[in-house]
């Protein structure tokens, strides 16, 4: 008897918990599977998906697996297929693992949109909010402006084997070389920017070794933080400028004290909105065309062969924006 009561209690509690979330909507559903749930980056993306979904009247939701295991993404996508969604969005952990299941989704007539996975096989479109050249050039340009177009600068990357960081660095260095001939790169690039302490000590060494050093360009989440601390320690704020992408929450103090001059990132919330906007457009049977104006992406120039839409929608991190970005938990 007690067993029956317990089962009944379990069943009703489950029913209550789920009925709140269960509202079947006939207009196509949009499910977005991200790398992992419950971290600030994807919480911001979820907010974007929800807001945009409400605005357009689409049932759009995010599925965040409990660990960054690609196997869990496959399972989540299979459940979305079973659920009969119209559009599946994915931020893949592993592009290859998802190929078969995305192909399966496409065979069922589901539209597939990916993000941060250019030329994904099995996807209808992939969109990127930052191109590697655009991202690198934006940083190079800002550094040159801060330094007044002359002086020596050093470049940090996360590691010499991280393709993305090196592509950014290549673009930045090439841009500076072309437009600001009076600026000189010190040494080669240093692969320290994923480690705060290494970035700090390398920056301290470089400041000692090169009295004319006026700037640090650090690609890698910890690079700007470490270099900024070094500049603060040597009391060179205002003389040496530190730039690069970093976590606003972590770097907020250094930005406020001017030890870090700024940098760029792209906004996960905006990416979430773009998922829904694109889904809405494609569900209506519209095609993405050259020169289209899409909200959140701006004017697009799609690469029709590889099915990529790459734009530069960079968000500056500086004194004015850092507090808001940090408040989003980024």
């Amino acid at each position: 008897m007690i067993r029956k009561i317990l089962v009944a209690a379990l069943a009703t509690s489950l029913a209550l918990a789920s009925s709140a979330a269960a509202f079947a909507q006939e207009a196509g559903k949009v499910g977005v599977v991200v790398k992992i749930g419950g971290i600030p980056w994807f919480n911001a993306m979820e907010a974007g998906i929800k807001e945009r979904g409400q605005k357009l009247g689409i049932d759009a939701f995010m599925v965040g697996p409990t660990s960054a295991d690609p196997a869990l993404q496959v399972r989540a996508i299979e459940d979305l297929i079973a659920q009969g969604v119209k559009v599946i969005g994915v931020v893949p952990n592993d592009a290859k693992v998802l190929e078969p299941v995305l192909t399966k989704a496409k065979e069922k007539g589901i539209i597939v949109i990916t993000h941060e996975s250019p030329s994904q096989k099995g996807a209808d479109w992939d969109f990127e909010l930052a191109s590697s050249t655009g991202f690198g050039e934006a940083h190079g340009k800002l550094l040159a402006e801060k330094m007044g177009g002359k002086g020596e600068y050093a470049v940090f990357v996360g590691s010499l084997t991280v393709p993305l960081h090196n592509a950014w660095a290549d673009a930045a260095i090439a841009y500076i070389k072309k437009n600001y001939p009076d600026m000189a790169l010190v040494g080669d690039r240093y692969g320290v920017a994923e480690d705060v302490d290494k970035s700090r000590s390398t920056a301290l060494d470089l400041i000692s070794a090169h009295p004319n050093l006026k700037g640090f360009l650090a690609f890698g989440s910890q690079g700007p933080i470490g270099a900024g601390r070094a500049v603060e320690e040597r009391r060179k704020i205002g003389e040496i400028f530190v730039l690069g992408p970093f976590s606003p929450g972590q770097g907020q103090k250094l930005v406020k004290s001017d030890a870090i001059s700024g940098g760029f990132m792209w906004n996960p919330k905006q990416a979430g909105e773009v998922f829904v906007t694109l889904a809405d457009k494609l569900m209506k049977g519209e095609e993405v065309k050259d020169g289209d104006e899409i909200e959140g992406l701006g004017r697009v120039k799609p690469d029709f062969d590889n099915r990529n839409i790459i734009v530069d929608q960079l968000v500056p991190i500086n004194k004015d924006t850092v507090a808001d970005l940090a408040a989003m938990g980024l």
């Binding site: 007690i2 067993r3 317990l6 089962v7 379990l10 069943a11 489950l14 029913a15 918990a17 789920s18 009925s19 979330a21 269960a22 079947a24 749930g37 419950g38 939701f61 599925v63 965040g64 697996p65 409990t66 660990s67 295991d69 690609p70 196997a71 869990l72 496959v74 399972r75 989540a76 299979e78 459940d79 979305l80 297929i81 079973a82 659920q83 009969g84 592993d94 290859k96 693992v97 190929e99 078969p100 299941v101 399966k104």
Partner: protein
Amino acid sequence: MSTIVERVKTLFGPEMAGPGLAFLAVVLTFGIASPQFLSVATFGSVAFQLPELGLLTLAMLLPILTGGLNLAITFTANIAGLTLAWVLQANGGVDAGPGAFVLGSVLALLVGAASGVIMGLVIAFTRAHPILVSLSMMIFLRGLGEFLTRGGDVSGFPAFLGPLGHGSLLGVPIPLIVFIACVFAWNLLLSRSKLGFNTYMIGSNLDATRYSGINTRKVIVLVYARSGAMCAIAGIIMLARFNSVRIGHGESYLLITVLACFLGGVNPFGGFGRVIPVFVALVVLQLLSSGLNLVGANQHLATAVWGLLLAGVMVLRFVATKFKISFVRKET
């Protein structure tokens, strides 16, 4: 009437009560909560997702029955998968023929079994705790795999492997067919073979089993070898499903396999447990997870509900056994 009940009881055993009721509860709850739940699509999704986790659970089941644990299952599966991947690559990658696949699968099974044999030998001869031994094996295999692949993935397989992961035969997913065949094999092994009997005996009382003239060391080595071979089958299915092998694939399955075993009424200290209730428990877990996905619940909530379900079933079982005992006492 009572004979039918008796027959059902003997067929499924008392362990069936927990998972069986949980199954009914889950199906009813989601059937009411979401109109799409009781549809072919949901069961198709469940049928495709069940096998890889299920095969790993079978690999976990045997060691648990001896009172041990095999924490190395996911990494054994991936190392075996890598073996097959390399054999396929050495024989032309995308153009590799069925011969290479058969050879690779045999080697993968051997590699899986070898990992089990090593663990079994260490456990049997040093009498170190299986958790420690399999944890060392898990760390070793993970490191080895990351060293050999540099953390990346191996891919580029012939097209005929696709159906093994995503195809259907007469409407039944092929991975599910493989899984059900393995469930029957395991059921046969445990209920009909000498090794199965000895496995239960060791789990109940190792010393008593040894004093009754059974070579317990041999049994333990054989049990872990079979567990490793089952991992290899899981690895081959995972290779086909994920279209690539990386040492970290399916890492998150490890504890879920333990959960499924306990939910299926397997005694954590060994000696008691059957295959069929574990199978039902797996179906329950999968239905629960797919059902929560269907109603759009948070994935972390799904994990929490799994935990609650396990705790609930444990309490139910405790209450049930207590009631039974007092009932029997009253009668006598």
